[in-house]
Amino acid sequence: MEKSGSIDSLGSKRSSSRQPSVDSLSSTSTSRSDRSAQAKPPSAMSSDSVATSAELSPELRVKPKTLAKQVPRDSDKEEPQLLPNETVQDMAQDVTYFCPFIGAMRGTVTVTNYRLFFKCMDREPAFVLDLPLGVVSRVEKIGSASSRGDVSYGLVCKDMRNLRFAHKQMDDTLRKSIFEVLMKFAFPVSNGLQIFAFEYGQVFPENGWKVYDAVSEYKRQGIPNESWRITKVNDHYEVCDTYPSTLAVPVNIPDEELKRVSAFRAKGRIPVLSWIHPESQATVTRCSQPMVGVNGKRSKEDEKYLQAIMDANAQSHKLFIFDARPSVNAAANKMKGGGYESEDAYQNAELVFLDIHNIHVMRESLRKLKDVVYPNIEDSHWLSNLESTHWLEHIKLILAGALRIADKVESGKTSVVVHCSDGWDRTGQLTSLSMLMLDGYYRTIRGFEVLLEKEWLSFGHRFQLRIGHGDKNHTDADRSPVFIQFIDCVWQLTRQFPAAFEFNEYFLVTILDHLYSCLFGTFLCNSEQQRLKEEIPKRTVSLWSYINSQLEEFTNPLYVNYSNHVLFPVVSLRHLELWVGYYIRWNPRMRPQEPVHQRYKELLAKRAELQKRVDELQREVTNRSASSSSERAGSPTRSITPVQTFV
């Protein structure tokens, strides 16, 4: 299992601290998130769960025995095992790490161009913290030198934790503190360095950059057809520089008109097709807000265009426009030239506001959530504290919006247009969630990758700005957890329909871990155009290469193909839960809860084993009866119906 061994040492697991030794073979640390789902050959399931539970905290050590047995070599080392092209930048002894769960400990810090690695050998087993620098949001020097002359640093991380270190004041004042070195490599963009993804040279058997091809995805949906066509009008990103080059639009609107429509839509983001219902031909289309302005400007082309979208669906004589914003916000946008479709101008269209708040509100909500869950959850008032963050309420509104869209399309057979202001945050959440509800394909692993590539990456969700890869400007108002929120919504769906998704929780956590890690190129840049310009597919590895090379780890064994079944989740706080497996995973008191999946895998193995034995016996019996006589015609084998032996 050479391959998986090396894979293991890659990043995802690193995003958190787990002792290398725990991970025995790979000697990498893994994130707590990878709990039971740890990537490993099947036989490793058990050791995996060992590791996980160890986790009482990410950072806690596991069984000394396991370590000793399996990893004598690595556990002695103070440095991490390096990835291809990863280089050590600095090391420091006698650094204190203040673990909020188990207390202060002293050890060695190694900083590479990819990670921060802390190891404390005093503990048995050794304690390890392994953190990709991409996760670091800011580094703060805390206070001045304390009584003992210590210098203290706090690391605020994007993945819901804070870490605190201290070391002795340097004797040599010329020498930089290791944390200054860290700052340099944690924020490469601000320091004129390259993001590690451009250096990381791992080769995987799968090429994730081939997962998505716009034309074949439209083809899968049956596009082009008599009502919709593929246009190359944006081939050079001239109509809209934040849109993909391949767009699907109504047949009877020529490219020239598309350009005129684009003048009336914010950032040129014209309504284009996201999804079409295979039977009713009702569609989900997305765009940005119309440039109505205070004077109520109109655009004949835009009106005609929306009419064409409606006409493309013969089943309904109505079009629903879902504006993701609260109506007040939409109205306020008129002051800035934007606004929303007036029903006078758009005959047959009905406008619905979904009251989802903007990126700033969401950022604040997640910040509050972090306060509530990290490092510890207070024993009392947990639920009201959680409520006061409004996080679940926002999740609910997004899911409720997506549900209404899916319901209109599925039950109402009506086409819908979805937009917010620019159409790259809330709009993406709504279209992709409603597509998940409507189309079982997106609930497979590959389908979900396609969905992300399409609705998020190609349609220009501004990952670079929202996450701030390698950028030290942590107060940037453009940062916002819109994508995290979307993944949270997906997780909520998997909770309500545990058998409807091919992927498991670990898959979602891995995506979020690599959203920050900067190990893969997938989430770099803000648009397809930028990615092309930076030659991301050429110069970096896709996250899907990593994931698709070990699908087993990310597969939900309970998956049942619901085929054409549309999911109608219950969007109620009675069913929405905080995603503890993500937000609270650093807490050592939290044990990952995925034994159902594990148990299912064990049962599958059991079935395979039994089937084998039955087959063997059957063969034996057949041989014997063939050789002896035909008397045993009524042997038990015949009375038994065949059972499936595959998943």
């Binding site: 609910k396 008191r589 034994p595």
Partner: protein, 766 residues
């Protein structure tokens, strides 16, 4: 006062009533609607042309039919029964529209035109003609009948009859006494033909020394003995006849001590850890002068019974756990927000409302306290004494939870049932008062058993492979409390039980010496209520029974596992423990709770207390489903038991979703495995034992253990359409709140409405 029309009891009782109804209505639609009656059941009053409300949103699905009050139940017989839903358990004793009188919480009559409303009790008058009857049930259903087309006088009479008969003046008026008497005589013939005296019941009842003996042997409690001083309840009114005590205490000592304990409840052994520590429960000692002396003697005896002479830790439950009134009021509140409050309005502040009910807080408090007891027993080799005023309420919850955490035996179906027998029924939990079956004293009502079931569910939710039974089992068990036909939940103590049953036997001419279990069976014989097929819903396909340990992790762990011992002094226990444990000689240097402090951005760091370290250490290892199980105790990990609390709520029902869809898939797989296993057995002959997979206890042979059968390769294994998060229950017709207005689309909005402008709402008319 009421006209009692004795009808000939029919013997249809063991047929699912609904089916017979269906047939009948097809044959003769207008024909009289006959209730299906059990033996000894008589119709008290009835009214025709009643409308049963099915949906709050419109009346188009409402059912028309006859409303009947018998001496056992409220029954509604629809004129045109809709096809029976596949998704429902068919109960052998109750039809789809039946409610046992004991299950009624409140009977409310309403007159809409006059704007009047009255909650009816026993022997009351009603000054208006009701237009509506709303039945609030103890199992959280709310059922509504309308009398717009019914004769006003008959409607009134039925309402009064229901109210009257649901407030029986005496326990012997509970229908079980009538029913079991008849049943005994009717079925006498069958029993003679061979069935064993206890009806093949596998669950030990703990009413005889042998049951206790077996338990002593099973747990290796060699220094404990069965003691018969309470035979004929000579010492204590509330203890069982046979109890287990330290061998070093003589009967004479015990008799002497008993006078100082509340209700003469001398310390009662519950369970022994393999390390020799014992779990003991006892009542308070009333006389403070004697307390020290007796405590010392008893504790010395307990220590002597410990092979390592482990110390004894006493936990005073009254001081560290909520009392029964608090628990009752929490339950009332959580019920209010789950089923009574309008769905969307309660959405708005849902989390805060749940918190304010304090139900989950209490669930967590009991789990936490029990886990702390586990620490002493498992981590410190100490024996634990649970002390409570009367030792009949909180102790029942804590002692059973501790045993559930420590001993995998109790996580099997039979083990669990024996635990309930041992720690609840025989230990003298006042089921009659706590359930308030006679509706006499609301102050005594408290859902402790329900709280216990919720705690069990929390464990099950966290360790889904550790229990042989399912949440459906727990729910059906909780519902059984409200069917007065089983002896399990009817009495306050073994003595009361024995007394009433003796009277009963006399009255019904049942020969002396007959086993009570035979003439008044406990709930554990599930075939009384459910078909064999439906009982398979109790089986957890994931259960890792002892035989299956090999599948796990390659390495088989046994219950006895080596453990690290920590320093024997109890440094830094958490606040609740400090309050809880006055026993033990250890001085408790205090330290701030880890959690209570304000946390700055980078919180300061503390050292762990031994108990925290014990838990962390435990959590750092993979959980052994057949070993000790400690629940996660963070508030974020204690969840609302949705199947129980929300099963009747239509708005909360996830179509084709919920945990049942995973259960469905798992069951199919296990069924395939069992088919393969039986194949193997056929090849190999009966003896060569392949390890039976999940359940060592269930009969594997002909009966399939799984409710959902393996699909043939041609089928898709898509979950059937009738599955929903409420399965196997259905909200249809079981939750009809009053005064809810809303359109179907509101279901999809679910509270988002408050965020929507009125304009938007107006737009959203489709």
């Amino acid at each position: 006062m009421f006209s009692v029309k004795p009808l000939k009891p029919t013997f249809k009782c063991y047929l699912p009533p609904v089916q017979t109804d269906v047939k009948k209505t097809i044959e003769q639609p207008i024909k009289k609607l006959e209730p299906s009656l059990l033996q000894g059941e008589i119709v008290v009053n009835e009214v025709n042309f009643v409308r049963k409300c099915i949906s709050a949103e419109s009346s188009q699905d409402d059912l028309w039919g006859k409303l009947i009050c018998t001496n056992f139940k409220v029954s509604f017989i629809p004129q045109d029964a809709p096809p029976k839903q596949k998704s429902k358990l068919s109960h052998l004793l109750l039809g789809e529209h039946d409610i046992p009188l004991t299950c009624l919480e409140q009977v409310v009559t309403v007159n809409d035109t006059k704007g009047k409303k009255k909650v009816l009790g026993s022997n009351q008058k009603l000054k208006f003609n009701p237009t509506e009857l709303i039945l609030y049930c103890k199992d959280l259903r709310i059922i509504r009948f309308c009398f717009d087309e019914a004769g006003p006088e008959s409607a009134k009479k039925v309402c009064l009859a229901i109210a009257h008969y649901s407030h029986p003046a005496d326990i012997q008026l509970l229908f079980g006494f009538e029913y079991q008497g008849r049943r005994y005589h009717e079925s006498k013939g069958e029993r003679v033909n061979g069935s064993t005296p206890r009806g093949g019941l596998q669950t030990p009842i703990f009413d005889r020394p042998s049951d206790w003996d077996r338990e002593i042997k099973r747990t290796g409690a060699s220094e404990w003995r069965v003691c018969a001083i309470n035979e004929n309840y000579a010492i204590s009114q509330s203890l069982p006849e046979y109890i287990v005590v330290p061998v070093s205490l003589a009967d004479q000592d015990l008799k002497q001590y008993s006078i100082f304990y509340t209700d003469q409840r001398i310390p009662l052994w519950c369970w022994n850890h393999v390390n020799g520590s014992a779990l003991v429960r006892m009542a308070n000692i009333n006389d403070p002068l004697q307390q020290k002396k007796i405590d010392q003697r008893v504790f010395t005896a307990i220590t002597k019974s410990h092979p390592q002479r482990g110390e004894v830790v006493r936990s005073d439950l009254d001081k560290c756990l909520p009392n029964i009134q608090d628990i009752q009021s929490a339950f009332v509140k959580i019920r209010q927000i789950c089923v009574i409050d309008p769905f969307e309005e309660s959405e708005e502040r849902w989390l805060t409302s749940v918190e304010n009910s304090r139900w989950l807080e209490f669930v967590r408090a009991f789990l936490k306290h029990s886990a702390e007891m586990v620490y002493y027993l498992e981590g410190k080799n100490s024996s634990v004494v649970l002390q409570e005023g009367e030792d009949r309420d909180l102790s029942c919850v804590v002692s059973s939870l501790v045993q559930l955490m420590l001993d995998p035996h109790y996580r099997s179906l039979i083990g669990f049932q024996s635990l309930v027998q041992k720690e609840w029924v025989m230990a003298g939990h006042r089921f009659l008062d706590r359930c308030n079956h006679l509706k006499k004293n609301d102050k005594e009502e408290s859902p402790l058993f329900m709280l216990f079931l919720d705690c069990v569910w929390q464990m099950m939710n966290q360790y889904p492979a550790a229990f042989e039974f399912t949440e459906t089992y727990l729910t059906v068990l909780s519902d059984s409390m409200w069917i007065p036909l089983f002896s399990t939940f009817l009495f306050n103590s073994p003595k009361q039980r024995a007394q009433y049953l003796m009277d009963f036997a006399k009255n019904k001419a049942i020969p002396q010496g007959e086993d009570q279990v035979v003439y008044f069976p406990p709930v554990w014989n599930w075939s009384q209520q459910l078909s064999i097929k439906d009982q398979t819903l109790f089986n957890n396909p994931m259960y890792v029974g002892k035989g299956a340990a090999c599948v796990q992790n390659g390495e088989v762990k046994t219950f006895r596992r080596t453990k690290k011992t920590y320093s024997s002094t109890m440094r830094g226990t958490s606040a609740s423990q400090r309050n809880g444990l006055k026993g033990g000689e250890e001085p408790l240097p205090r330290r701030g709770s880890l959690l209570s402090e304000l946390k700055p951005d980078f919180s300061p760091v503390k050292d762990e207390s031994p108990i925290e370290r014990f838990f962390r250490d435990w959590f750092s290892r993979p959980a052994d489903q057949q070993g000790v199980l400690i629940p996660l105790l963070m508030p974020s990990h204690v969840a609302l038991w949705k199947l129980f609390f929300l099963r009747w709520v239509p708005e909360a029902c996830i179509p084709k979703g919920g945990p049942i869809t995973a259960y469905h898939k798992l069951s199919q797989l296990v069924d395939e495995i069992e088919i393969l296993q039986s194949k193997l057995r056929q090849y190999k002959g009966p003896s060569s034992g392949s390890t039976p997979l999940p359940s060592p206890s269930g009969p594997l042979s002909d009966q399939r253990r799984m409710y959902f059968k393996a699909s043939s390769p041609s089928d898709s294994s898509t979950p059937p359409d009738y599955l929903s998060s409420s399965f196997p229950f259905t909200p249809v017709g079981n939750l009809c709140r009053r005064g809810i207005h809303g359109t179907p689309i509101s279901k999809f909005l679910n509270g988002a409405r408050i965020w929507l402008s009125t304009e938007t709402l107006a737009n959203d008319t489709v």
